[in-house]
Symmetry: C2
Subunit: 266 residues, 2 copies
Amino acid sequence: MSELDEDTALAPLGGAAGAFRARISDRWSIGSAPNGGYLAVITTRAIAKIVAQPDPFSVTTHFLAVARPGEAEVRTEIVRAGRGHSVAEARLIQDGREMIRTIANFGDLGAIDGATHITVPPPDLPPPDRCERGRPAPSAPRIADRLEVYLAPGTTSWISGAHNEIAELGGWIRLRDGRDPDPISLVFFADAFPPPVLNLAKVRTPWVPTIELTVHVRARPAPGFLRAWFRTRALARGYLEEDGELWDSAGALVAMSRQLARIQRA
Amino acid sequence: MSELDEDTALAPLGGAAGAFRARISDRWSIGSAPNGGYLAVITTRAIAKIVAQPDPFSVTTHFLAVARPGEAEVRTEIVRAGRGHSVAEARLIQDGREMIRTIANFGDLGAIDGATHITVPPPDLPPPDRCERGRPAPSAPRIADRLEVYLAPGTTSWISGAHNEIAELGGWIRLRDGRDPDPISLVFFADAFPPPVLNLAKVRTPWVPTIELTVHVRARPAPGFLRAWFRTRALARGYLEEDGELWDSAGALVAMSRQLARIQRA
């Protein structure tokens, strides 16, 4: 079993319908805090267990408090069970306190058809061996051991201190244990890169906590590396959006993400 | 009282904490269906009544079923009450059935400060008298009577049938009764324009129902017209994102929106 699957596994919680026991691993942490995208995979997997459809289409997660590695509960609720789409929620609870809440629309990415017209180009990345061997966050945290990341030249200017003032960042990514991406894992990958806003000199802290993250999964990813590009166009009074696009190895756009985050005061 | 305020008013529902009676007006309909952004203002206002902070920062609404004009209930839940931010949910219920669900993070847009770096430009719109007098949806629906809309030349190609294949649309907008925009109303304005995807010839229906709409409110809008720009970059197998930016009359970026929608089959 892959690290991601093992660390997001759910066991039925006796006595409560749609309730699960989870164990938050310390293997996906940045400092002492588990990565938000990792936690959102736990809640999204819980939702997948209670809806009839296999794939997340829209997944919104609100981050309420800083979870910690260890035991947790996930409690789910069907909001609407439909034929083509269902909507459901999941709450991650530790010590009786809700840490994150996810609401998701699920459908079947293998069953949809209709018009296609895509004008957003995939990121123009050099091959991995001409990228920078990326650390997924400035402090070389534990999550770095889970990932194989190659960052595009010119998008990691903050590491040397020579901030280039371009709040964009892209690269190649896959799980280090070789586990291929699937639709739910895209919720993780959408939050697994360093924040592009670090390229701005006025951002004096590496801590850019997510307030809310929404991921639209648009296709089931082909095996292999994902290509990703993230940008922040509006840092305003300490708050920012971060938009991301994820592409699979076959050149398909597989997810679009947007998060609202804030620069953590020192 | 303005039309928007009157038609989103909430009365306490006796006996249940955080429950309200609403009346969905037919004045904001497109065909027989009330506009989604209008409905989301009702749920967002309900959330505003139960949290300590005045302003929505992130508002996600899932559209579950087609509501109809008439009586409705709104039931709310505090997810997390914090000092700086609170998160809460609201459900709009008709005939015992949940029609929409909104989850929102509220804070105080008047109290935030921090770094600012904005690279997204405001839309380059000609003055209203050189725009097209817009109808907010192709069928000149009732909602059109509530709005003053001026659409940028070249963004309404579907009206004449000469589709220009550019899925972008922008313009000026304000409420016709002169009521100025406020933060909660931006949830409405983010869904009040025609879908830019109509500019594609392969989109053969004007019905592009929203699955999920997220609006980030970034500043309190100054009085007067809003400027807006919307674009769809990836219509894929009938599903699409629609990204929007809203600017106020003083030139401030006041909201960013993204929705997942689908082309309705005929």
